[in-house]
């Protein structure tokens, strides 16, 4: 790809040149996604109707807690028992509010002790439990650990023997979900996704009333970066201190990393943080630097919500329905919350801005997907398997989609057509569908990469912190800071590979290079060969 001058992205005149440069990885311009026509009647939307048209396994369906659970036919213990379950809550907890009472009603001898914990707490509870042999029966891995590590270290066991009618269950999935090195190891299945990986927090989320008043239309085509910057400025002026043009959770480094990663990736930094074609980090690319420059320019304009730097993601989200800011780059996960707590608020989704308003390179998502792992020493794996089997079935996923109003899509196409899916969720899902492609994964090609993952030490400052430092002015030179980050990331990866090699793992930096990768297409199983 031709080198681009970073100022091009910020100053209007350069946008055309940038577009030309981007042509290499251009895909169809993102047309606004029309919400699918079949909006369900509201009374049907409100109440989950239970089993979908797919055949529920033979046996009487049992009802409980407003949710109808199919009889899995599994032979479960009849003595009173408590199954322990720990994850990071969120949308899962919304569904569990319906699911757990229903399950316990069908199985009166079973109590499910569910802990939805913040990540740092999860990071203490799960390791301590595993060391002590009494981890929760089903757990989500804390950040910093991959499923491959969990399996390698013997923390998790496979689901094959515990999910009722396992072969049939697994076969019901669309292709590409069960992937060796991600949720399948040695031919055994260990986990499955709760919602599809094909989702992001990269949409333009906006206050309809404010943008209408300012006569800004992000829906017919994506805003250019210049238009975006101008829009934020105009909206800020229009708000006259009552609201601001753009809000970002600058107090949370992870969110700052996402923001820049998404902007840069759609601008042409293919693959996000790593360009899979070359196996090189993208941090120091023109697109990354330009995305930071755009953010800084908007800050200099005074267009960014003034308290941004002290807001974490959740606090920032809450400001939007209050009308404190007009636009943010975010996802669709908050739909159920805002619908219940701010029913009068009207917002919409559009494609995030791209430099020239037309061309974009797709965002990537990882193959496979996992959230829950079955603890290797669980006393009641068949109970956990029964519950997981339901959660991972089309029927269960349909119930999930109903409960969460489709806030994040399922991997089952049918589940995504469930009644009660919010029109905005459909719109967001259509944008995900249109803008995202399956990325290659070194772990899939070479499961030994897990050894490298175990060796990698966190970078200080990491990408998110660097962006935050640039945003607050503690770091002053974006190009220099991002180049330094790239160097440190390279060095650490090389060190990790070397350390893994020293332990006998057959890994190399070449494992991160996928020469045949086309960023505009899904990287499918066949492409690994």
């Amino acid at each position: 790809m031709r080198m681009m001058k970073r100022r091009d992205f910020v100053i209007g005149a350069g946008a055309v040149a940038a577009a030309a440069a981007l042509a290499a990885c251009t895909s169809a311009p993102p047309a606004p996604a029309a919400p699918p026509t079949q909006t369900p009647p509201p009374n049907q939307a409100a109440k989950p109707t239970g089993a979908g048209p797919t055949a529920a396994p033979a046996g009487a369906a049992a009802t409980g807690g407003g949710l109808t659970l199919p009889n899995s036919g599994a032979k479960l213990p009849t003595e009173p028992l408590t199954l322990r379950w720990a994850d990071n809550a969120g949308l899962k907890a919304i569904f569990f509010k319906d699911f757990l009472p229903a399950y316990q009603k069908v199985h009166p001898n079973i109590t499910v002790a569910y802990d939805g914990l913040p990540l740092p707490e999860l990071a203490k509870v799960v390791p301590l439990g595993i060391q002590n042999g009494n981890a929760p029966d089903v757990f989500e891995l804390p950040t910093g650990f991959t499923g491959a590590q969990a399996v390698q270290q013997g923390w998790a066991q496979s689901l094959d023997d515990f999910i009722p009618n396992f072969a049939q269950w697994k076969a019901s999935y669309p292709p590409g979900i069960f992937v060796n090195g991600n949720n399948v190891f040695g031919g055994k299945t260990y986990s499955f996704p709760f919602v599809s990986n094909k989702k992001n927090n990269a949409l333009l989320l906006y206050n309809v009333e404010y943008l209408k008043q300012a006569e800004i239309d992000p829906a017919s085509r994506p805003l250019t970066w210049d238009e975006f910057r101008a829009a934020a400025k105009k909206l800020t002026q229009q708000g006259a201190g009552k609201y601001y043009g753009f809000l970002t959770a600058a107090g949370e480094p992870g969110r700052m990393a996402m923001l820049i990663r998404f902007l840069a990736q759609m601008a042409g930094a293919v693959g996000g943080d790593m360009n899979w074609k070359t196996g090189e980090y993208n941090y120091a690319t023109d697109q990354y630097v330009a995305a930071v420059d755009l953010l800084l320019a908007m800050k200099a304009d005074g267009s960014i919500f003034p308290g941004s730097a002290s807001l974490n993601a959740l606090q920032a989200d809450d400001q939007i329905p209050l009308g404190a800011a007009a636009m943010m780059i975010n996802g669709s996960y908050m739909i159920p919350k805002w619908r219940t707590e701010a029913p009068a608020f009207v917002w919409d989704y559009a494609s995030q801005p791209v430099p020239d308003g037309k061309t974009f390179s797709p965002l990537t998502y990882s193959p496979g997907g996992s959230v829950w792992w079955l603890y290797a020493k669980s006393k009641y794996p068949e109970v956990a398997g029964d519950m997981l089997g339901y959660l991972g079935s089309e029927v269960g996923q349909t119930a999930v989609q109903q409960a969460i109003s489709g806030a994040q899509p399922s991997v089952f196409a049918k589940a995504n057509q469930a009644a009660g899916i919010d029109p905005l969720a459909r719109k967001a899902a259509a944008l995900y569908e249109q803008q995202m492609r399956l990325a290659p994964s070194p772990n899939v090609r070479n499961p030994a990469i897990a050894e490298v993952d175990s060796e990698l030490k966190p970078l200080t400052p990491d990408f998110g912190a660097v962006v935050q430092g640039l945003f607050t002015g503690q770091l002053t030179d974006p190009s220099k800071a991002l180049t330094d980050l790239k160097d440190r990331a390279d060095k650490e990866l090389d060190r990790g590979i070397k350390a893994a090699q020293a332990k006998g793992a057959k890994v190399a930096r070449e494992d991160y290079v996928f020469a045949n990768w086309d960023p505009t297409k899904d990287f499918l199983e066949a492409d690994y060969r």
Binding site: R84, L117, P118, V125, L128, G129, N132, Y333, K337, E341
Partner: protein, 293 residues
């Protein structure tokens, strides 16, 4: 006024004037303190008001009056944080922990503060040294230890883990307090035929009301709010958890239920405030009278 006014009259007049002055002073002081307290407790009031708002209203910030009180928050807090279920556990753990801590630290403080004997300085030095160690990560060895004692998943394990530890601050407070009590107290007790233990239990300990009250309040607070130890020590038996653990039911990946959390916090704070109100007069009455003799 005659120059021969007796000193007694002078004294009385002085005392009356001093009292009258003090009443006026008290009124003015109260007014000033009242104003300060209003600002001081604003955040606390905000928490109570947040418990009656919707989550979106909480995010809107400063106003104290909930537009339409959401009493349902308390209901949700009660069920979601398992307050009913966890309350008894919390009381058992907190009361036992406080009792153990007061007893052990008072005894330690008495020995260290009142007597000099071989080994005292070493123990003092060891205790003093522990206060410099950051605590952040000691959860892992503590957890390991409770497991080896086969006490995990018992209330006693939690009590021991919370009551355990050097509690240097309390020991130093007791030691400091006992060291400055007059020796006549003991001598009188010995004349009465009291031994070491009885002197401590019947003469010395009752005098240490303020330190005991301080210890109770501080330890009560830390046990009542503690969540990490109860959480990891009851992994297999969630029914043994405490209110502090329940508070985490409101924080999740994408949502935080601010108002539910505020409601749960409000409910779980009431007992602490009760304990403080009940004990604080000990600071006032205390030992002042006893020392006079």
């Amino acid at each position: 006024m005659s120059a021969t006014t007796s000193s007694l009259t002078l004294q009385r007049r002085f005392a009356v004037g001093w009292l009258r002055g003090s009443r006026l002073r008290a009124t003015i002081t109260s007014l000033i303190l009242g104003a300060i307290c209003l600002v001081w407790t604003y955040p606390f009031l905000w928490m109570v008001s947040a418990a009656l708002k919707t989550n979106v209203q909480v995010a809107s910030g400063a106003g104290l009056i909930p537009p339409s009180p959401q009493w349902g928050n308390f209901e949700r807090a009660w069920t979601q944080a398992h307050i009913g279920q966890y309350f008894t556990n919390t009381v058992i753990i907190t009361v036992s922990t406080v009792a153990i801590v007061v007893a052990t630290t008072a005894m330690m403080g008495y020995a260290l503060g009142r007597y000099d004997y071989p080994g005292r300085k070493i123990v003092l030095a060891l205790y003093a040294a522990t206060i410099f160690i950051p605590e952040g990560y000691t959860i892992i060895p503590v957890f390991d230890l409770i497991n080896r004692l086969h006490l995990n998943d018992t209330l006693f394990g939690i009590i021991l883990a919370e009551a355990g530890g050097a509690h240097v601050i309390f020991v130093l407070l007791f030691a400091g307090f006992f060291s400055q009590l007059p020796h006549e107290l003991e001598e009188a007790a010995i004349v009465d035929g009291a031994g070491f233990v009885r002197t401590f239990a019947q003469v010395m300990l009752p005098l240490s009301g303020p330190v005991i009250a301080t210890t109770i309040i501080l330890q009560f607070m830390s046990s009542w709010n503690n969540f990490m130890l109860p959480l990891v020590l009851t992994l297999s038996r969630p029914e043994l958890r405490t209110l502090g653990v329940g508070m985490f039911a409101f924080q999740g990946q994408y949502y935080s239920d601010w108002s539910g959390m505020a409601a749960a916090a409000t409910i779980s704070l009431l007992p602490i405030i009760g304990v403080f109100l009940a004990l604080q007069r000990h600071f006032v009455e205390g030992i002042a009278g006893a020392i006079k003799q």
